[in-house]
Amino acid sequence: MIIKSRRKNKRRPFDPILLLVLLLTIGLTALLIKANYTIPVTSFGLAAEVARFQPRSGVESPVTAVLLNFRGYDTLLEVMILLIAVIGVWSLTKAPFPQKAVKTSPVQLAVVRLLAPLMCLVAAYLVWQGSHLAGGAFQGGAILGGAGVLLLVAELPWLRTIHSRPLRIGLLIGPLFFLGVALLGIINGRELLTYPGKWSGSLLLLIESTCAVSIGLTLASLFAGGRPADDLIGQTKTPACNREQKRC
C-alpha cells in the first residue's frame, strides 16, 4: 500500500481527486459570489449588546471585552489550538538548524540588535493598549513572534542550544494561566470563566501578557520548524540499556 501510494505521487500528471477538489472549490466560490450579492444583511449583530454590558467586562475596548470576557471560552480553545500546532510540529522533527555555525553579516546583526528589543517593547505596549484600544494578546504575540523569527533568521548560535524544558514552560504559561483563572470562577461557586468583578481588569491584563508570551514563542517555534535538540534526552537511557543487554 505504502509503495503504491509513493508511486502514485511520482507520476501524477492528472488526478481525479484533485479535479474533484478543484470543481468543489470553484463551485463554492461561485455560490459565495452569488450569495454575497443577493442575500441582504438583515441583522446588525450583537454590537448593541456588547456596548450595553461593556462596563461590566472590566476593560474599555469592546474587542478585548468580547475576546476575553463575553466569548472568553472561544479564545481559551483558540490558544489551545496554537499550542497543539506546536506539539504537532515538534512530534514530526527536530528543528533543522544547519550543522555548521553560519557567519552572519555584521549589518544583519546590527539590525537584529536594534530591532529585537524594540519589538519586545512594542509587543508589551500592544498588550497594555489592549485594555482600552485595539490590541491585545494575539497582536502582541505576533510582534513577539516576529522578533523570534528575526533572531532565527540571523542564526544566532545560542538559539540552537535552547533547552526544551524552559521553552515548554514558556509555551504553556499562557494557556495554563488562562485555564487557572477560568477555574477560579468555578472555585468561587460561579460559572467557568467568570472573573471576580473587582479584579477582572487586572486579571485580563495578566492573561493577555502571559498569553502574548506563549503566542510569541509558539509562532517562533513554528518558524523554527521542530523540537529543540535536547527534547528526547530524558528517555534515551532505556534504549541504550536494551542494546547493552542484547550484546550480553
Partner: protein, 504 residues
C-alpha cells in the same frame, strides 16, 4: 466562602482532559499514568452528568455567567450525553491499548528512539483531541462549534502524521488540508447565519430560524464542509490513506471517534436547529450519497488485500448508513425512532471499529504484515485478538444482539413504515456485503491450514489484546441495554416538545 456549584460538572469533560493534555506536554514522564487517571476521572464526570441528567433533564450552562446572545452556552441533551459516554468508554480502551502498543514497539529494539518519541507526543495530542471532542458534543453555540472543529482537525492531523512514514505524512497533510477546507466552508456558513439572524446561540436560532435565502446558503455551506469532514461518498477520498497509514491506536481514534464529531454537528443542525428549513429533496440527495457509500465502500473493502485498508473502507461503508437515515426522518411520527437508530449506529460503529483497528494493529505487530492472504491460523497465537475481531465483525454485519443490529433494525422499520422501502434494500445489501468482507478475514483467522506454519511468537502485554475484546463486547451487548438509551433520548424529546418548534 467556597460554594461548589453542581452545574459545574458540565465543564468537567472539557477541563479534565485539557489539564491532562497540558501536563503531559509539560512533564513527559509517566505520561501514561496521567492519561489513565484523566480517562478515569473523565468517566467519573460523565457518569455524574448522566445521573444529573436523569434527575433534572437537559442542562444549560452559561459560560462566564453571560446570557446567551452575548455569551456562549453549553448544553447537555440526550444525544450529546450518549456521545460523551461513548467517547469516555472508547477513550479508556484506546488509552490502555496505546500503552500496550507503544511498550511493545519500544521493546522491539527497532528504531526504539522513534517509538519513544511517538509515545511521548501521542499522549498530549490524544488528550487534546479528547478535550476537543467533548467540547464539540457539549457546545451550544454555532461559532464555538467551529472552534471545536478546528481543535479536532489540528490535533487529529498531528496524530495521523505521528507514524513518521512518508506515506502517512502525505496522507496526514492531505487530511489537514481537506479538514481546513471543510472547517472554512462551515465558517462561511456561520457568517451567513450571523448576517441573517445576528445571533450564534443554537437554541435561539432554533426558535427564530425561518426558511430563506440566507439560511439556505448557510446550510449549504455548512453541510458541504461537514460532509467533507465526515467523508461521505464521494468526498471520502482522503479517509482511506489517512486512516490506514496512521499508527493503530490513532486509526482507532480517527475512525471510531473523530468522524462522529462532524457527523454529530451535521445531524444536530439538520434535525434540531434548522429542521424547519430542510427540504425533502435535500434529504433524498443525502440518502442517495449514503447508499452510494454503503455499496461502494463495501465493494472496495471486499477488494482490499490488506487488513487495515479493509477496515478503513468498511468505515466508509458504515458511515453511509448514518446518512441513509436522513430521508427516513421525513415522516413526522417516526423521527424519534430514526434518532435512536442513528445514535445506536454511531455508538455501535464507534466501539466496533475501535476494537477492529486495535485487533488489526495487534495482528500487524505480531505477524509483521497485514496481508489478508497470509493471515491463516492467527487464532493460534492471538486467540483474544481474533475473537475480538470476529465480535466486532458481528457488529458491522448487524447480527443480534449487537448495537449494529438494533440500529439497522430501527432503520429498516422506519423505511418500511414510511413507505420508502427502496432504502431497506440498500441496508440489506450492505449487510450482505459486510458479511462478505468480515468473513473473508475471520475465516482466515480461524481456519488453520494443514501444513501449520509455526508463527514466531513474540511476548506481548495483555494491554494489547484485552482492550479490543472489551470494546467489542460492549458493542455486542449494546443491543441488550437498548431500552436505557431510548430512555435517555426520550428525556430529550419531552423537553423538545415543550420548547416551541421542537425539531427532534
Amino acid at each position: 466562602m467556597t460554594i461548589f456549584n453542581s452545574s459545574a460538572w458540565i465543564v468537567a469533560p472539557i477541563i479534565i482532559p485539557l489539564i491532562g493534555g497540558l501536563l503531559c506536554f509539560l512533564w513527559r514522564r509517566d505520561t501514561f499514568f496521567i492519561a489513565l487517571f484523566i480517562s478515569l476521572a473523565n468517566l467519573l464526570s460523565v457518569t455524574t452528568l448522566l445521573r444529573q441528567f436523569l434527575l433534572f433533564g437537559p442542562l444549560r450552562y452559561r459560560m462566564g455567567g453571560w446570557e446567551a446572545p452575548l455569551g456562549i452556552a453549553l448544553r447537555l441533551h440526550g444525544p450529546a450525553l450518549l456521545m460523551l459516554l461513548m467517547t469516555a468508554v472508547s477513550g479508556i480502551g484506546i488509552t490502555l491499548y496505546a500503552r500496550g502498543y507503544f511498550s511493545f514497539r519500544i521493546s522491539a529494539l527497532k528504531h526504539n528512539n522513534r517509538h519513544e518519541q511517538q509515545e511521548r507526543f501521542f499522549w498530549p495530542l490524544w488528550l487534546m483531541l479528547w478535550t476537543a471532542l467533548n467540547a464539540l458534543f457539549l457546545s451550544g453555540d454555532i461559532f464555538n462549534l467551529y472552534v471545536t472543529l478546528e481543535l479536532v482537525s489540528v490535533s487529529a492531523a498531528a496524530l495521523a502524521a505521528l507514524s513518521g512514514k512518508p506515506a502517512s505524512q502525505i496522507a496526514a497533510f492531505r487530511y489537514l488540508l481537506v479538514s481546513l477546507l471543510g472547517s472554512l466552508s462551515y465558517l462561511l456558513g456561520v457568517v451567513f447565519v450571523y448576517k441573517t439572524y445576528g445571533i450564534l446561540d443554537l437554541e435561539m436560532l432554533r426558535q427564530i430560524a425561518t426558511p430563506g435565502p440566507g439560511l439556505q446558503m448557510a446550510l449549504t455551506l455548512m453541510t458541504l464542509g461537514l460532509l467533507l469532514k465526515t467523508a461521505l461518498f464521494p468526498l471520502h477520498f482522503w479517509l482511506p490513506p489517512a486512516h490506514a497509514n496512521a499508527l493503530a491506536p490513532v486509526s482507532a481514534i480517527l475512525s471510531g471517534l473523530v468522524v462522529k464529531g462532524s457527523f454529530f454537528i451535521l445531524f444536530t443542525l439538520w434535525f434540531e436547529i434548522f429542521a424547519s428549513s430542510i427540504t425533502a429533496n435535500a434529504l433524498d440527495l443525502i440518502g442517495l450519497l449514503g447508499a452510494g457509500a454503503v455499496i461502494w465502500g463495501s465493494l472496495q473493502a471486499i477488494r482490499q488485500q490488506r487488513l487495515k485498508l479493509l477496515v478503513t473502507y468498511s468505515t466508509v461503508a458504515q458511515l453511509g448508513y448514518l446518512f441513509i437515515a436522513f430521508p427516513l426522518t421525513a415522516t413526522e411520527n417516526i423521527s424519534q425512532e430514526v434518532w435512536t437508530a442513528v445514535t445506536f449506529m454511531v455508538m455501535a460503529h464507534s466501539f466496533a471499529k475501535t476494537a477492529m483497528f486495535m485487533a488489526a494493529g495487534t495482528i500487524f505487530l505480531q505477524v509483521g504484515h497485514d496481508r489478508i492472504r497470509d493471515l491463516a491460523g492467527i487464532r493460534k497465537s492471538l486467540p483474544i485478538t481474533s475473537f475480538a475481531y470476529a465480535i466486532a465483525g458481528v457488529n458491522l454485519i448487524g447480527l443480534p444482539p449487537s448495537g449494529g443490529f438494533i440500529g439497522k433494525w430501527l432503520l429498516l422499520t422506519a423505511a418500511l413504515t414510511s413507505g420508502q422501502w427502496h432504502w431497506s434494500l440498500v441496508i440489506i445489501a450492505g449487510s450482505l456485503l459486510a458479511s462478505v468482507y468480515v468473513f473473508r478475514v475471520v475465516s482466515r483467522l480461524f481456519l488453520t491450514p494443514d501444513e501449520a506454519i509455526i508463527q514466531e511468537c513474540r511476548p506481548h502485554s495483555p494491554l494489547q489484546e484485552w482492550p479490543a475484546l472489551f470494546l467489542a463486547i460492549i458493542a455486542l451487548l449494546l443491543g441488550l441495554i437498548a431500552p436505557y438509551f431510548s430512555l435517555i433520548l426520550e428525556t430529550t424529546e419531552i423537553v423538545a416538545n415543550l420548547a416551541p418548534g421542537g425539531g427532534l
